[in-house]
Amino acid sequence: MDMHQPGAGAVTRGRILIEDVVKTYDTEGAAVMAVDHCSLEIEAGEICMIVGPSGCGKTTLLNAIAGFHAITSGRIVMDGETLCSTEKPKAEPGPDRIVVFQNGALFPWKNNLENVIFGPVMQGKLARKEAIDKGRAMMADAGLAGVEHNYPGEVSSGMRRRVEIVRALMNDPKALLLDEPYRALDSLTKSVMHEALLEIYYKNKVTIFFITHDLEEAIFLGHKVAIMTTRPCRPKKVLTVDIAHPRDYSVLTTKRFRELIEETNEAVHEEALKAFQAGEKEG
């Protein structure tokens, strides 16, 4: 059995069920629907890629799981525990679901190591000294040895992202929620970051909910790719990527990878076009 496939024994936590979630915003009296009866199953330890055009409502979904924003109706369940529902619309943010933000949210006033140990120290899970030892070890593991005492502003943006992922993992989360973390990176750095992320993932199996608008990125990284409709957001097509993990960049040139891109490209393009036209109308 391939231990890198999700649900294959190693990972038993971090199963997320999104059931019939609706989110409407009330802007100037007119209700705008951001998420429309969205249902999605994310297996424990799975990398689930959410693909959709900018502004389609993907981030709204992520904010609902993280507990930053309320939903209008529906239910989100993690490992049998209801995070939020129609009755209790806003989930409680917690260290079991850590978000890595699009523009990064490392505290600029703390050095990288202090950022990394923030969670366990805050939660009182580790004494400062233990946290520092663990933080150093995890940073070294992620190729970040030597920048512990630099401020985030002193290292490259690719490194910052890695520090932020290590900071998230230090909380021992059930799920990582990544909101287009590599959007601002150039494509060369991006490809390095993809492999780095997979490497970190193979060492620390967690569920990954990854938002992107880059189809290649989605298929390269994901066990599952959910292509979303543009506003309101709902899965249009859910694809299981049948390329075995561990993967590296040679996957990009395989026939299967190209086939999967072809299979999904049209759906993505359709939605992008819709989003573009909708944008034009609004403007």
Binding site: V99, W109, G119, Y151
Partner: protein, 291 residues
């Protein structure tokens, strides 16, 4: 110690500064001497024109009336040995520091309170916004009536000068902290107090530094004017009225060189205190030193 000195001497920025100051002093010296040049016959038509404008005929009024740098230097050396001059420094510095420190001690917590509490903002901000446009100097008479001593009155006006700037900067700084920092801190199990201490406080620090530097500049403007208006704030005013009163009494006493001595002294004092604050600011926000 030698290395920084070498770098300073080889830096074009340093030499530009030196050239700028030297050029300024030379122009000033020339301007001050224009009084004699204007007496030359060849400038007769110009002198007639000045006379027609109701000005004295023998010099250009805007520069010629100012004492020359050499004369000022002489006057300066003369007052260096006098206790009254140093007493003026001490008085002004004391008033600036007491007002400024009070403004920090009250302004920073007040600004933070307005930033974190809607209730506090609802109650505090309207009054603050109505009082803020009143120039500190407009407070001088009321302040003299209100406070038991003139000393307190001047310090209070100085305090006002820095207070509003510090509060506005702290409030603005705290409000502009990226919401993602709060969300990240919250996810990682921070309590409200942790978020205040570990996100809001350091996140506002750069704005506190900026507000303080601007506020410090205003306190010097205010203290000098307040000293002039209030007559120096002490009985033996000539000896201990602060640099503002030093200028004023020099003017009344007709010692024009001393006026300029007082002005330059204030310039130096203001520059030194700003420099001190900038240094402290860099020290407390080391992460901004990078890049």
């Amino acid at each position: 110690m030698r290395e920084p000195l070498r770098r300073l001497v080889s830096s074009p920025v340093f030499w530009r500064g030196v050239v700028s100051i030297v050029a300024f002093v030379i122009l000033w010296e020339l301007g001050a001497r224009s009084r004699q040049w204007m007496a030359l016959e060849m400038f007769a038509p110009l002198r007639e024109l000045l006379g027609a404008l109701g000005l004295k005929k023998d010099y250009l009024p805007w520069v010629g009336a100012v004492p020359a740098p050499l004369a000022v230097l002489k006057a300066w050396i003369a007052v260096l040995g006098q206790g009254g001059y140093w007493q003026s420094w001490y008085m002004s510095l004391f008033r600036v520091m007491s007002g400024f420190i009070a403004a920090m001690l009250i302004g920073i917590p007040f600004g933070l309170l307005l930033a974190v509490s809607r209730t506090a903002q609802g109650i505090g901000f309207p009054v603050f916004e109505v009082l803020r446009p009143i120039p500190p100097l407009a407070w001088v008479p009321a302040s003299i009536i209100f406070w038991p001593t003139q000393e307190l009155a001047i310090s209070f006006v100085t305090f006002l000068g820095a207070f509003y700037t510090i509060v506005i900067n702290v409030l603005g700084g705290a409000r502009s902290i990226d919401v993602h920092y709060f969300q990240a801190a919250q996810s990682m199990g921070s309590s409200q107090w942790d978020i205040f201490r570990r996100v809001i406080l350091p996140g506002t620090l750069p704005s506190i530094v900026v507000g303080s530097a601007v506020g410090m500049g205003i306190t010097w403007e205010v203290v000098v004017a307040a000293e002039m208006i209030s007559g120096g704030g002490s009985q033996q005013a000539g000896a201990g009225g602060g640099l503002g009163f030093f200028i004023w009494s020099s003017y009344v006493g007709g010692s024009y060189e001393q006026i300029v001595v007082g002005m330059i002294s204030i310039g130096i004092a203001g520059f030194a205190s700003s420099e001190l604050l900038r240094w402290l600011g860099r020290y407390v926000t080391p992460w901004l030193r990078v890049r």
